[in-house]
Symmetry: C2
Subunit: 498 residues, 2 copies
C-alpha cells in the first residue's frame, strides 16, 4: 500500500466510527426510549473514545506528517491537499493539549453543563457562578494550548467562524446597533397587527406533512433526506447523501414548526450540495457556523418571511393544514413579520434577534477582554437589555441564565448567528444582480432557481472556502452590514407603512 492508501484506509475507519456516533446521537434525540438512553450514551462514549484514540495515535499522525512533506504533498490532488492540510492542523492543535489538563478541562465543562439547567430551573444564579467562573478560566487556558499565538477570544471566534476577528465583528455590529435601535423604535410606534386569529390548533401529523412539503419545495433532494421529531430542532448528516433534520410539532405552534423546518432545511440544502468529490474528507466537514447559519437564515428570513414565498403555494399549504384557512395570506404574512421587544432570544423575531446577539457578543468581550467579574454578569445583562431592547427581565432565568452556550464552554459561538444574517444581506444583493428581483422569482414559484444559485456559488465548495473567501468570490467585497440594514429598512417600511 502507498502512503496515501494507508491514510485513506485509516480515514475510512474513522468515518465508520463517525457514522456510528452520528447515528447514535440522532437516535438518542429521535427514537431511543428513555429506558435505553443510558446504554446508548455509554455506547456513544465508547465510540467517541475509540475515534479519539485512532485519530490521534502515532501511526495516523505519522502518515499525516509524511503526506504533508513537500515531495508527497505535491503529488496529491486538490481534495487530498485540503484534507491533509486541515487534518494536520487539527492534530497539531490536539496534540499540544496535555492529557491531564484535558481530563480536568472535560470535568470542569461537565460540571457547569450540569449546573446550568438546575440554575435556570430554580432561577438560582448563585449556584452557577462558581462553575461558570471555572469554565471561563479553563476555556482560556485550553485556547492558550491550542492556539498559543492568538488572543483566547479571537481563537474562540475563529473556532466557529474561521478567519473572523473581533475587529471585523466590532465594525459591523456597531453599525447594526446604531441603525437597528432607531428602526425598532419607529416600528414599535406603529399600530401592531392582530394576534388573536392565530390560536388555531394543528395536529402533529399535518404539521409534519406541511414541513415535508416545504423543504421539498425549497429544493431538498428527498431521496437523500429524512426528518423526525425532537424537542429542539437540528440538522445532522451521515454523509452528503444522508442529511436529516428534526422539528417539534406543538399543536398550538404551527408557525414555529414551519420556520424551524425552513431554517433546518436551509442547513440541509447546504450539506446535500457539497461536491461529492469531498465525501469523507475535510472538504465536506463544514464547521463555519456563520456561513452555515447564513444558509439556514437565508431560507428562513430572506425567503420564508417574504410574502412571495407563500403566494404560489398558499392553496397547497391550506390543503395540507386546513386550519390555516381561517386566516388570509396577508394576515399570515403580518404575523410572521410581527416585531416586538421580548426577553428570550429563541423566541425573538428576525429584527430584535440581531440585538439579542449583539448583547451576548458584548458580554463575551467583557468577560474575555475586559476581565469582567462573573458575579457582575446578571446586572450587566439587564443593563444591556434596557439599552438595546428597552425591556428588563424580572428573573435571571429569563435573563443571563436563558442560553446553554456558556455552560458548555461555547463562547464565541453567538456572533455566528448574526454574521449569517449579515452575509445574507450581501448574498441577496448578489442574487438579485444575477437573477433579478427575488420577489418576482418567488412569486413565479421558481425558488429552485435561487437554490441552484446558492448550490453553484456557495454549497458545492463545502469547507474549502471560508466565509471571507465566499464573500469575495460571490459578492466581490468584504464584510458589510449595509445590505442587511437596507433590506430591513425597505421591508419593514412596507409592512408597517412608514
Amino acid at each position: 500500500m502507498t502512503l496515501l492508501e494507508k491514510y485513506k484506509a485509516k480515514q475510512k475507519e474513522l468515518n465508520y466510527l463517525g457514522h456510528a456516533m452520528s447515528l447514535m446521537h440522532w437516535d438518542l434525540e429521535t427514537t431511543c426510549p428513555d429506558g435505553g438512553k443510558e446504554k446508548l450514551s455509554d455506547a456513544i462514549s465508547f465510540f467517541s473514545t475509540e475515534h479519539f484514540k485512532k485519530a490521534t495515535d502515532d501511526e495516523f499522525y505519522g502518515l499525516v506528517c509524511k503526506l504533508s512533506e513537500k515531495e508527497e504533498f505535491d503529488k496529491l490532488d486538490d481534495v487530498m491537499k485540503f484534507d491533509i492540510t486541515r487534518t494536520k492542523e487539527q492534530l497539531d492543535k490536539m496534540r499540544r493539549v496535555p492529557q491531564d489538563f484535558y481530563e480536568e478541562y472535560v470535568k470542569t465543562i461537565t460540571a457547569s453543563s450540569i449546573a446550568w439547567p438546575k440554575a435556570k430551573q430554580n432561577n438560582d444564579w448563585k449556584s452557577y457562578e462558581a462553575p461558570l467562573e471555572k469554565t471561563i478560566k479553563a476555556v482560556k487556558e485550553y485556547k492558550k494550548y491550542v492556539s498559543p499565538d492568538m488572543q483566547p477570544y479571537d481563537a474562540l471566534i475563529d473556532d466557529y467562524e474561521r478567519g473572523m476577528t473581533q475587529g471585523k465583528i466590532d465594525a459591523v455590529f456597531e453599525e447594526l446597533k446604531e441603525e437597528l435601535i432607531p428602526l425598532l423604535d419607529k416600528i414599535l410606534a406603529c399600530p401592531q397587527p392582530d394576534h388573536s386569529k392565530f390560536t388555531m390548533k394543528v395536529p402533529a401529523h399535518e404539521q409534519a406533512e406541511l414541513c415535508k412539503f416545504l423543504v421539498e419545495y425549497m429544493g431538498i433532494d428527498m431521496e437523500r433526506f429524512a426528518q423526525a421529531e425532537t424537542e429542539h430542532p437540528f440538522t445532522t448528516n451521515m454523509s452528503i447523501d444522508d442529511v436529516r433534520i428534526t422539528n417539534h410539532y406543538y399543536e398550538n405552534e404551527v408557525i414555529s414548526a414551519i420556520f424551524s423546518a425552513i431554517h433546518e432545511g436551509g442547513h440541509a440544502i447546504f450539506e446535500q450540495n457539497v461536491d461529492h468529490k469531498y465525501e469523507g474528507t475535510e472538504g465536506a466537514s463544514i464547521s463555519y457556523m456563520g456561513l452555515h447559519e447564513s444558509q439556514s437564515r437565508f431560507y428562513e428570513n430572506i425567503l420564508g418571511r417574504n410574502i412571495n414565498f407563500w403566494k404560489p403555494i398558499w392553496p397547497k399549504v391550506c390543503e395540507i393544514v386546513p386550519e390555516l384557512k381561517t386566516v388570509t395570506l396577508e394576515e399570515f404574512y403580518k404575523e410572521i413579520n410581527h416585531i416586538e421587544n421580548s426577553l428570550v432570544r429563541t423566541e425573538a423575531d428576525e429584527l430584535t434577534y440581531c440585538l439579542h446577539i449583539i448583547l451576548r457578543y458584548e458580554m463575551e468581550r467583557a468577560i474575555f477582554i475586559d476581565g469582567a467579574d462573573v458575579k457582575d454578569l446578571p446586572k450587566m445583562w439587564n443593563d444591556k437589555m434596557d439599552e438595546l431592547l428597552h425591556v428588563v427581565p424580572e428573573t435571571d432565568a429569563q435573563g443571563v441564565l436563558q442560553d446553554m452556550h456558556w455552560s458548555d464552554g461555547s463562547f464565541g459561538y453567538f456572533p455566528s448567528y448574526l454574521l449569517g444574517s449579515i452575509y445574507d444581506g450581501m448574498f441577496l444583493e448578489a442574487i438579485e444582480k444575477d437573477l433579478g428581483s427575488i420577489d418576482d422569482i418567488l412569486a413565479a414559484g421558481d425558488i429552485k432557481k435561487i437554490t441552484k444559485w446558492l448550490n453553484e456559488n456557495i454549497h458545492q465548495y463545502g469547507a474549502t472556502r471560508i466565509s471571507s473567501e465566499v464573500l469575495e468570490a460571490v459578492c466581490g467585497q468584504e464584510l458589510s452590514a449595509k445590505p442587511l440594514i437596507r433590506h430591513f429598512k425597505d421591508k419593514y417600511a412596507k409592512i408597517y407603512n412608514f
Copy 2:
C-alpha cells in the same frame, strides 16, 4: 484484572459493536433515505467484520477456554456459567469452519439471495434453480463443519429451535394434518361472513396511534419501547430496556396493521421481561424461534383473535379510528377469524397457516432427507398445495417462489412458526388452570394478568430455558398438538355454528 474482568471487558466491547450494528440495521429499515443506504450498508459490514474478528480472535477464545476449565468455571455465578458455556460452544462451532470455505459459502448465499427477488418478480423459476441448488449444497457442507455429529437437517432445526428434532416435529405435524384438513373442510362448507363492509380507509397516523394503544394495553412498558414504520414488520432490541417494533400502515389494511402490532408486541414483551441480571450476556440472547413465535402468536391469535380481547377496549378503538364505527364488534370479530384457502402464507388465516407451514416442512425434508431434485420442487409444491389446501397456484411466483427463507439458506426455520402455535395451545391450558378462563380475564380488561403470568413463567428466564424445558416447567408435559387442536375445534365450532 482477573480473568473474568478481562472477559467482561471484551464482552462489553463486543456489545457496543453489536449495539452499533443493531441500530444501523434499524435505521436502514426505518429512517435512512435511499441515498444513504449504500454507505450505511458499508458501515454495517465494517462493524460486522470488526465484531467477528474480535469475537473469534485467540485472545478472547483463550479467555473463554480458561474460564471453562473446572477450577475457574466453578467460581462463576449462574449467569456467567450459562454465558461462558454458550459462548464456548458457539466459538467452537465457528472455529471449525475453514476460512476459505466460509468465504465461498457467503458468496453462494449472496448469489441466491440476489437471484430470488428477481426470479419471483419475473416468475422465472429456471433462473433460480442453479443458485438454489448451490445454496442447498453449501448449507449441507456448512452444517457438517459446524455440527459434525448431527444430520444436517436436524442441525438446522436445532439452530432455530434448540433441542427440537425431526422425530418430534413429525409426530405433532402429522397429527395436526390429520385433524386440520377435515376441520377446514367443515368450516369451508359453512356460510362465509360478509367482507364487503371492510373497505374502510384509515389514515396512517390513526393506525399508528391505535397500534401504540394496543401494545400498551397488552402490557408493553412504554418507557422501554419504540415503534416505527417499515415495509415488513419486525421486532429488534438494543437491550432489555430498549425494545422496538415496526409496522406498515397501508390505508386500506388497518386489520393487517392491528395484528402485526399485536404480534410484534408479543415478541417485544418477551424481550422486555428477561431478567435484568442477564443483560449483555448469552442469557438475554433468545435465539429459540419457536419459543419466540409462541409469544408473538399467543398475543396475536389466542388473545387478539378472541372477542373478549376487544370488548373492554372497543369504544376506545373506535375513538382512535372512527372509521371502525361503520362495523360492529361482532362483525369485526367474524372478519378477523374468517377462514379461507389461500395461496400465500403471509396472508393466510390462523388455521390454514398451519398447513402452509406443514407443506414447507415436508418440502425441506424431501430436500435434505430424500435428496429431492431441485428442478422437481415447483411440481412438488403444487401437488402438496392441492393435497393440503385444495388450491393450486397458477404461477411459481405465487407458489414455490413466494418466500425468501430458502434463498438465504434459512432451511429449518419454517417449522418454528407452527411449533410456536402448538406451544400456545399448551400454554393456554396451563394459564387457564392457574388463572381461570381467559375469556373472563380478557372481558374484565385484565389482560395484564396474563402478561404477568407469561413474564413470570416464561419471559424472565430469557435464553436459559430451551423450549422443552419451558414446556416441562410450565405445562409439566412433553410437546403435544392436542391442546391446540382442541382450541381450534372449540373456537371455530362457535364461530361457524357447527
